[in-house]
């Protein structure tokens, strides 16, 4: 490494200045080692492999990823489709950047994905409007569209963090019910303007075309602000389990409210007090009361690499990388600690940093092989700071006995997650 490019430690346990990579350029980057699920191979003399000696596969009309990536999948809670909710979690620890591939997007489907014929699907807007209207998918295609990157998170994501002891599971199990995509569709405000909303109206009741015709009440304010009827996800039509052919999309808000398979919006002066908002998506407090109409997915972050299952490959320089997001705005800053929160270094945010979207943060780290505790803490531009886990559970409650990792004892956890690295380089979930 060239003299003068020696990275400067800016927090304890080897956290380096976030500009190190940029300044150090290729020379410094070449010293980086990857995290491994198994130990890496040693160098061998290079030869031409079989794939370099014969023509490759025919390009298919719709490409599947390499067969070597087959293990990168969602984890399912109800793979046989029994008569109960189906959850699929995103493998955030095996992903990079900020976009979730459509086939890996998390899913909560109360009663599976309906097989909707888009030509027969209808969207009705009625109730407190001057002109009750019905829209076909073809009609909506002709409307002016908007695209935006936005995350969507289940209100119950991160529920294992309410356990009294840290549950030893990977990132996918702990925080895998959040994903981020580019959503394209028609602003709901456009359709509401066409229908002519009664000035006394205050709420919308949105309903899906699935078997339980799931309904949620949404403040009209949100409907007139940034709510979208989403038709496309990362450039292609929505996936069936993500609402094909159309879903409501409420940027930054609890995923369940972004009603999938959307077929009806009733404009009202009161919330419907529907089942999901009367029980499932309420959050118990230690005083026996419960939050209702929580709406916002608050500022949050976690380190994706390294994380449990991704082992350090010996001492050396690594990139600590993770995801931060806030339902209240843009990520302004992410701080990273390697000593369990005693000292902090500011991570680099990967541009573009977008409102209510995943923001990738990165920080170089020189791991000397001794035990360390990694944490990340996000700050948004609305002034919100991610709480520590201890702060969060003091306010919201902690289980007396652990539940299975897929249980939802409570919701909306946005506290700090801690990964302990031992001398062997193994990563464990800890409370620190």
């Amino acid at each position: 490494m060239t003299k003068g490019l020696e990275p400067i430690a800016i927090a304890a346990n080897g956290l380096l200045d976030r500009r190190t990579f940029i300044k150090g350029g290729a020379a410094f980057a070449a010293t980086l080692s990857g995290y491994t699920e198994t130990q890496g191979a040693t160098a061998q003399p290079l030869t031409d492999d079989s794939w370099s000696l014969i023509p490759g596969a025919t390009t298919p009309p719709y490409e599947q990823r390499s067969r070597f990536e087959a293990k990168v999948t969602r984890t399912l809670t109800n793979p046989k489709g029994e008569a109960r909710v189906q959850n699929a979690r995103t493998p955030l620890h095996l992903s990079q950047g900020t976009v979730t591939p459509n086939g890996l997007h998390f899913v909560v489907a109360q009663s599976g994905a309906p097989d909707i014929d888009p030509a027969k699907h209808r969207l009705v807007i009625h109730g407190m409007v001057k002109r009750p209207l019905m829209f076909t998918l073809d009609a909506l295609e002709r409307y002016p569209k908007v695209s935006r990157m936005a995350f969507i998170e289940c209100g119950g994501n991160s529920a294992p963090m309410f356990s009294p002891q840290p549950i030893q599971a990977n990132l996918q199990t702990l925080h895998g019910m959040v994903s981020c995509s580019e959503w394209t569709g028609v602003l709901l405000s456009t359709l509401l303007a066409e229908a002519g909303v009664d000035p006394e109206a205050k709420w919308l009741i949105a309903e899906g075309a699935d078997a339980p015709t799931l309904t949620r009440s949404v403040p009209l304010k949100k409907g007139l602000d940034d709510a979208m009827i989403a038709l496309y996800q990362n450039g292609e039509r929505l996936m069936p389990a993500n609402g094909y052919p159309m879903r409501l999309f409420l940027p930054g808000w609890e995923g369940n409210m972004s009603i999938k398979w959307l077929r009806r919006i009733q404009v009202t002066d009161t919330p419907g007090m529907t089942f999901p908002e009367s029980k499932t998506y309420t959050q118990l407090l230690p005083n026996g009361k419960a939050y209702q109409f929580y709406f916002v997915e608050e500022v949050k972050s976690f380190i994706t690499q390294p994380s449990p299952g991704l082992t350090m490959n010996g001492p050396g320089t690594y990139e600590i990388s993770g995801i931060a997001y806030s339902g209240e705005g843009c990520i302004k800053r992410v701080m990273v600690s390697a000593d369990g929160g005693k000292t902090w270094a500011q991570a680099a945010l990967q541009a573009p940093v977008q409102d209510k979207a995943f923001t990738r943060f990165r920080l170089p780290w020189r791991w000397d092989g001794s035990p360390a505790i990694l944490q990340s803490r996000a700050y948004d531009d609305a002034g919100n700071v991610q709480p520590t886990r201890a702060e969060f559970v003091t306010e919201r409650g902690e289980l007396k006995a652990p539940l299975p990792p897929a249980a939802f004892p409570n919701q909306h956890f946005n506290g700090i997650t801690s990964w302990a690295i031992d001398a062997k380089g193994e990563v464990k979930h800890v409370y620190a």
Partner: protein, 174 residues
């Protein structure tokens, strides 16, 4: 504003918003009769409740036939959640949340059973059957008297025990 600027990176969406306000007006006008089959939401004050009625005595055999397989005999729980009252909900370490100890509003029962239950054949119950099942579950949960009749008039007046157990997290957003 559709999206806000992050760290000075303009997202140039405001132009799209202005453009979007100009609708091609392709919505087809519909009448209440056109959408009657979908117009099934019940509001907490009872608006939307249909004609018909039912009692717990009428609901019990329907429950045994169409609901008990998943929710257990007399609502004690099975592969699906219990529909009985549990002890008071005190915290996440307290009793399971059920109709009697948790649900804030009575009309939710009619609305949810009619749209979503029974799980494998939703939207197949008659309105009388839904009223009867609602009465049956409210009696099981000791919220109404054994012989109370549930209909569009009586159901919205039923006060649920945990009506005041809720705090709106972000009132400013409503």
């Amino acid at each position: 504003m559709f999206t806000r600027k992050c760290l000075g990176i303009g997202l140039v969406m405001s132009a799209s918003v202005a453009y979007a306000a100009d609708s091609p007006n392709l919505g087809t006008p519909v009448t209440p009769a056109d959408i009657a089959a979908w117009d099934i939401s019940i509001l907490p004050d009872g608006r939307g409740l249909p004609a018909g009625s039912g009692t717990a005595a009428q609901g019990a055999p329907i429950y045994a036939q169409k609901c008990a397989a998943c929710h257990g005999e007399n609502g004690k729980g099975g592969t699906a959640s219990a529909l009985l009252p549990r002890g008071p909900v005190t915290s996440i370490n307290g009793a399971e949340r059920t109709i009697g100890n948790f649900w804030p509003v009575s009309t939710t029962l009619f609305d949810y059973i009619r749209r979503a239950m029974p799980w494998q054949q939703p939207k197949t119950l008659t309105n009388d059957e839904v009223y009867a099942l609602t009465a049956y579950l409210l009696v099981l949960n000791k919220v109404i008297g054994e012989s109370d009749v549930m209909n569009a008039e009586t159901l919205p007046k039923v006060r649920m025990p945990n009506r005041d157990g809720f705090i709106v997290r972000f009132p400013g957003k409503m």
